[in-house]
Symmetry: C2
Subunit: 469 residues, 2 copies
């Protein structure tokens, strides 16, 4: 046998083996297959960037705000801000003059000074460039969240972004890196963490009422049938038509991540996602968009594992006839909490604080606690934030008050120079579920590693803390 | 370069590439990694075996039964059989004489003829060898189900096996192959499929009330704390201590598989499983077994995909304080059914039969139907089997009657020479979840293909049918 033949043999054999080995191994533009898992590329932290863990800015006694996106969530936010002391609304920006005018009228009714008006696709830049604005509040469609947030931070503004803050892993890193470099707050406006049951359960969890939490569930199950017309130029259906996976995870995911202290002594390690075919979604797309394909599943289920060996389940379904459901469920070694479809707890001996259990009340480790016990526990563990602001929040409203609690906390922390309740890593962790779950679903539910947006510092802070002066 | 060196080079290079390629690819004794999925070896059907799909035996007007395993589920079954016409209880077998005597006394109280008694580890063989027995009813601990079932079928007896019928994929194939070779029925005694809500929902599903079912959920969430002492020589905790995964899936899985027509025009394609660490289970094992390890997770979640693009979620948790929950949930394109923690439906226009909707009642596609509508629907879609036997079943009892419905149907079909409601492929499909989910969990939730126990004939029957003469 001659050398040339042997060389050919080598090449041929290698080709065969490579091909055998790699045929069934997934790979993509920005991820690879490592240790039986799909792993997204993680950019290194560049010089001049510094962790935002525990970051607090200088106190801003009078917070000057610019609102961008006044179509759906915006007007409610503007209205709520007129009820917060030490706030100045400097600018109102939208694609439509009519939306801007509506909000201007709100300010007038509240006898607040007129705000500058910004109208058009690029108008947000002018607002971000002002030197008399501290905070940019972004409530546009999802795909404009990051470009606007980046521009605002680059111009020295803190940003608050509606959910989901980002629509891809790449965008999550852009928020993290820009926030770390510019030293500006980047908070996602996840309102459900401030809902009354969720925040009470967080307080119980932090006081150990459930023992060690092992499994948690969240969801966004909301039949949007009546609402598709409310999205400017059909942007939400258009986004879902192009994107598979859990594209709207944060309402269900955020509250349970807080209960599990994610990147505060714990972290998300990997996830798997399994989804159904699209039937109702496809039907909508045919009727409303005249297209024959729809990427988003009618029902999407994602399972996420944590460093401490816990599991989180999140579901997404905005297409089929069902009762509204965010699940919000905590399964602990010593107790259980459940919000949907009915609110209830399972408590066990010795876990509730002294004096909470009503005289003669008996605990049942196999069923829901009685209404009497539940009421006593809800009162005893009401979160300090709710003790402070619940009454006013319910007057002002916004999803029953939780929206106001959120805005109030954002402004309170900025005014007092405190770390925000939700940092840029929360925004990234809760938003990245979209692309990660889509990637798993596209590869027959293969496990996908969740990037560590803190770059190794997930164990530096111990436990979630809502700061007060 | 000499040839020998070149040859060495080839080997070396191949070794390197092989190693590179296979480093992160899972493999085990009885499975391999194909197309990004863990695939279990599937034995070919050997000569002399024939599919049991739609199999019916000769009518047996008087069914002669032998019971094996009289510790927990057995006595209830013996009692129920004393209420069924055309049944003769020939033998009673258990490890303990006391258990046999208790059941003998039951027969006496019911003025039934005395049964032969079989006591001891090997006594079941004698009973199976009798030539005057038609059916062996197996309610032993899980690990004895298959050995006894195989022995019984080899000796010409039909078998009914408590859940789970088998504890491994290998055992599932043994049941299928032995049933196919001996032409004997092998039915798993999955009682929950006969529960009143489940069977009514199956009837609704088969009549299209929910549109196309896209997602289904089932569970076995039952805090077994008070029951661990009831298992002979601690067998259940001992089994869970050694086995990871959803070891008890069938109560949650069976009913939803029936609604999705699995192996009757549809099939299970693959699953992923994610579980928590063991805390309460490990605690039990330390106290009761003096061991420091526990394989089974406190909470285990499994997602299963079907050929028709549907998803099924199953959960297992027998360790933490929670209300009992089998979930049983159907999410369809046009409707929704939910059993736990509260029973309810979402119905939409035009899906309920003519005349079901009460005068003036309005449907809400975003919430649960009113009690009035629910009651009307439950009545209108009551399953024929329940119309026939519900009253008597509730008198006889056994989990509120569903156990009697199950036994009644088993005997009815044998007496009339009809195919059984649950065939050997159901037993295999519902039981294999244990080892498949464990294998996924051990490999960071990698997808695992579900074997096709019908060997390609899953599309031969169209739709599940409960046969009547």
């Amino acid at each position: 046998m001659r050398r040339t033949n042997l060389s050919k043999l080598i090449v041929a054999l290698l080709a065969v083996v490579m091909c055998m080995a790699c045929a069934d191994v997934p790979s993509g533009e920005n991820y690879s297959f490592k240790d039986g898992m799909i792993v997204f590329d993680e950019p290194a932290r560049v010089a001049g960037q510094e962790s935002m863990l525990g970051f607090a800015a200088e106190p801003i006694p009078n917070v000057r705000v610019g609102f961008i996106g006044l179509g759906m969530r915006g007007p409610g936010a503007v209205n709520r801000f007129t009820h917060i002391e030490g706030v100045e609304i400097k600018g109102l920006c939208d694609l439509e003059q009519s939306n801007v005018s509506k909000c201007q009228a709100m300010l007038e009714r509240a006898s607040k000074p007129k705000a500058e008006e910004y109208v058009g696709e690029e108008a947000y830049k002018e607002l971000c460039e002002r030197d008399d604005v501290d905070l940019i509040y972004i409530a546009t469609d999802w795909i404009h969240h990051v470009p606007i947030a980046l521009y605002a931070m680059e111009h020295g503004k803190h940003v608050a972004i509606e959910v989901p803050a980002a629509t891809s892993v790449e965008e999550c890193w852009q928020l993290v890196d820009t926030s770390e470099r510019t030293r500006r707050h980047c908070m996602m406006l996840e309102n459900c963490v401030y809902d009354f049951f969720e925040l009470t359960c967080l307080n119980m969890a932090q006081q150990g009422v459930f023992g060690e939490i092992l499994h948690a569930e969240g969801a966004y199950i909301h039949n949007l049938e009546p609402y598709w017309d409310s999205y400017h130029s059909n942007w939400r259906l258009d986004f879902n038509q192009k994107h598979r996976g859990d594209v709207y995870a944060t309402h269900g995911f955020g509250p349970v991540c807080q209960a599990l202290n994610i990147h505060r002594g714990n972290r998300l390690t990997y996830l798997v996602c399994m989804d159904t075919k699209s039937v109702n979604g496809l039907e909508l797309a045919k009727e409303r968009m005249g297209v024959q394909e729809f990427a988003n599943a009618d029902h999407t289920t994602t399972l996420v594992k944590t460093e401490l060996g816990q599991t989180i389940e999140i579901q997404h379904n905005v297409y089929t006839p069902r009762p509204y459901n965010r699940l919000y469920q905590l399964t602990g070694t010593k107790g259980f909490a459940n919000k949907y479809p009915i609110q209830g707890f399972t408590f066990t001996e010795g876990m509730l604080k002294e004096g909470v259990l009503p005289e003669g009340a008996r605990l049942n480790p196999h069923g829901f606690a009685s209404d009497e016990i539940e009421a006593a526990a809800l009162a005893a563990y009401k979160h300090p934030i709710h003790q402070e602001i619940e009454e006013k929040a319910k007057q002002v409203g916004g999803h029953g008050g939780m929206d106001f609690v959120m805005d109030y906390r954002l402004i309170y922390c900025l005014q007092n120079g405190l770390p925000l309740d939700q940092d840029v890593y929360d925004a990234a962790e809760w938003s990245c579920i979209g692309e990660l779950s889509a990637t798993s679903a596209k590869h027959n539910s293969m496990p996908v590693a969740v990037p560590d947006f803190t770059r190794g510092e997930w164990n530096k802070l111990q436990g979630l803390k809502f700061h007060t002066k």
